[in-house]
């Protein structure tokens, strides 16, 4: 409750947990159903013709409905990446881990996920291997729960 901080000032410590419960909605439900079957879907904009993944109800730029669903492949290319080596609240796995932008084949935007399946102790080695355009493919969890982490990570070809 009340205590002195490092500067010697009196502070009141409290903690709050506020529970929320979010509606997933039709579009996400359909996208996650695809994930359960190891399929990644995007939707195509009738106006700008962009294919965006995860699937959307509407094009965020053109502001028109996106009714056309496109099944994308399970593969793509690295666009950029970073290695996280510190702990933060809500992180997906223990550090070190790599997150990145992946350009999934047949899509026009970048998909954010983990890149993994190899040893991460040598940053210089990773920097030599992982370039823009490095091919990756999705590695799926055996048991799927219908969420974004049904994909375990994207594994680079060099790690095979």
């Amino acid at each position: 409750m009340l205590r002195r901080n490092a500067k010697g000032n009196l502070v009141l410590e409290t903690e709050a947990i506020i529970p929320y419960e979010l509606a997933v909605g039709d579009t996400w439900n359909r996208f996650f159903d695809g994930m359960r079957n190891e399929k990644i879907y995007g939707t195509m904009c009738p106006k700008c013709k962009r294919v965006l993944t995860p699937a959307r109800k509407f094009c965020p730029r053109c502001y028109v409905d996106m009714d056309e669903w496109v099944e994308l492949g399970n593969e793509g290319e690295v666009f950029c990446w970073s290695l996280t080596n510190y702990r933060f609240f809500g992180m997906p796995t223990d550090p070190p881990f790599i997150t990145g932008f992946i350009k999934i084949d047949k899509s026009d935007n970048l998909f954010v996920h983990l890149i993994g399946g190899f040893d991460m102790s040598d940053l210089d080695w990773i920097k030599k291997k992982m370039k823009r355009g490095t091919r990756v493919s999705a590695v799926w969890e055996n048991v799927k729960t219908g969420c974004i982490m049904d994909i375990k990570y994207f594994k680079p070809m060099f790690a095979d």
Partner: protein
């Protein structure tokens, strides 16, 4: 929560560390010694409780500290009779605005005491202007509830 459609539970966790500042620090110290501190404005001459850094009316610093009376009159009250987050004590309980003697604002606190054991009769006993007095908790922590409640005199 058992909804008929798919949802995602999402708990937001927020730790806080509020700077108490010199005014509430002194106010809480007072509570520990069974003193209720107010401050008096050099501009409008009003005495406000709890003590303030500055006068909410004149916006000037309030430097004159006043020990205010522990007795006052009931201004308004409400009987809380359901469970809610942040309730100061297990409902039912009575929350009240009290005008402490010589103060120029109302003090938000609780009412309590033996009469409150039977809440069905309490309404007839509580009147605007009823005299009340602070009752202190034995153990004090530097918290508004170091005053246990105000009781009818």
């Amino acid at each position: 929560m058992g909804k008929h459609y798919k949802t995602l539970r999402h708990d937001v966790w927020l730790p806080h560390e509020f700077a108490v500042g010199p005014v509430f620090e002194r106010f809480y110290e007072g509570l520990k010694q069974e003193i209720i501190w107010g401050t008096k404005c050099s501009g409008c001459k009003k005495t406000l409780v709890p003590a303030r850094t500055f006068c909410p009316e004149c916006l000037v610093d309030m430097n004159e500290w006043v020990q205010v009376s522990q007795k006052g009159k009931l201004v308004s009250w409400t009987l809380a009779n359901y469970q809610f987050y942040g309730a100061p004590t297990e409902p039912p309980f009575v929350g009240a605005l009290i005008r402490l003697e010589d103060c120029d604002c109302d003090f938000l606190h609780l009412l309590g005491g033996p009469e409150f054991e039977d809440l069905s009769t309490i309404k007839s006993k509580l009147k605007k202007g009823s005299d009340v007095r602070a009752v202190w908790n034995e153990e004090k922590k530097g918290h508004m509830l170091d005053i246990k409640y105000f009781k009818l005199m």
